[in-house]
Symmetry: C2
Subunit: 257 residues, 2 copies
Amino acid sequence: MLKVINSIQEWKQIKARQLINQTIGFVPTMGNLHVGHLSLCKKSASENDVTVMSIYVNPTQFNDRNDLQKYPRTLEMDLTLLRETKFVDYCLILTDEEVYADDYVYQVSELYLSQMMEGIFRPGHFTGMLTVVLKLLLGVAPNRAYFGEKDYQQYRLIDGMKKAFFLDCDIIACPTVREESGLPFSSRNNRLSVEEKQKANVFSSIFLKKYQSCEEILQQLQQENIGVDYCQEIEGRRFIAVRIGDIRLLDNYPLEV
Amino acid sequence: MLKVINSIQEWKQIKARQLINQTIGFVPTMGNLHVGHLSLCKKSASENDVTVMSIYVNPTQFNDRNDLQKYPRTLEMDLTLLRETKFVDYCLILTDEEVYADDYVYQVSELYLSQMMEGIFRPGHFTGMLTVVLKLLLGVAPNRAYFGEKDYQQYRLIDGMKKAFFLDCDIIACPTVREESGLPFSSRNNRLSVEEKQKANVFSSIFLKKYQSCEEILQQLQQENIGVDYCQEIEGRRFIAVRIGDIRLLDNYPLEV
């Protein structure tokens, strides 16, 4: 049965008293759960004795205050989904007061990969993300933590952080889960109007033609009036970010060799 | 008997295989050991089953390249001292290649306390220090870690980092150990000429007159031609940094109430 926990302190006590010698899988989220999140939970449940999800909308990774305010918060629905799917044993709901008791004066930053792509368009985003993920990884102390490949740059930064700081936790990337149109599931999809959603589907149908070059993709997106922040290839993988209305959508895939 | 270990990987294996359920005390150092270090080791040995010391001259915390090059490296003497005093069970000698496999692209910084006093005179110093200490605390994973009050600003920053990142390790401050003149033991004392050492002793005799104000102390140091970077009081404690030749010396003490 799902247990809801409201602080890292409470979790640490439960872990020390009740979960000795059990392997722990961890799925950090900002809530508004969708099947992408569930795929991470399912994988964690298959690989660990216990699965913990955190739900916390981390303010420091939002460079855009408007985006933070509009971020969908659907806690009751999220908990219902977790209860019905049964992959998650503990749901950790965190507060700014506990996570940022330090007033965000301590920060973890990365100076290379974080300066590309999303880092250019979202100043401060990756520092906020790395800081909160390190807090969570150390507070929860799991054996494995699960992240979606949809945010591949994020995954790579977290995996690099794990190595740089000798964390014992395994960082596991899980394949992007897509809607029928090919659009990756994302909490921000819920903010798209019907018209914008159609445009988002067009975006995906264009981007997912892997045999095309970035330039060909850019041309077609331009014809559809879809604003592109970047479309580029790094280390055998193609990344894109587009703007549809005031929503940014990301995607990426490995290039065939 | 002292065991010398040459990597965090090796330490992690020993810890997992041979030290299960033992409490571990940790004393991170840059070598050139003196009685100040030994007091930390003695305290650790009295409070833990096993004591680990690391010896690593961390390049990223030296803002002054000259200071890094001249930092005394006395590994054979250090190991002899550890063998004779018997407080330390494991000595972990680290390399730049392992500690900075990430090329120092991941950094931990603090934005408030680190901007005062030493932070003003040594740009980048505290970021390098916090980064390496977090690597060591996570790599060694001790129950307790010991730091000298001589570097009180450093201790406070590390203790804040522990809280901000939910580290399980206790951060323990140990009293400053002083030479007969009152001068705190420091590896940098070994770089003072005979004349400079006399001046350092005069510095201590002036600073340790606690009943005087900072201004009175400054005046007397000026008369002795001793350059002062700062002398100030924060949260009931008085801090000072002076320059003698090209050596900087620090000290601090709590003010009587």
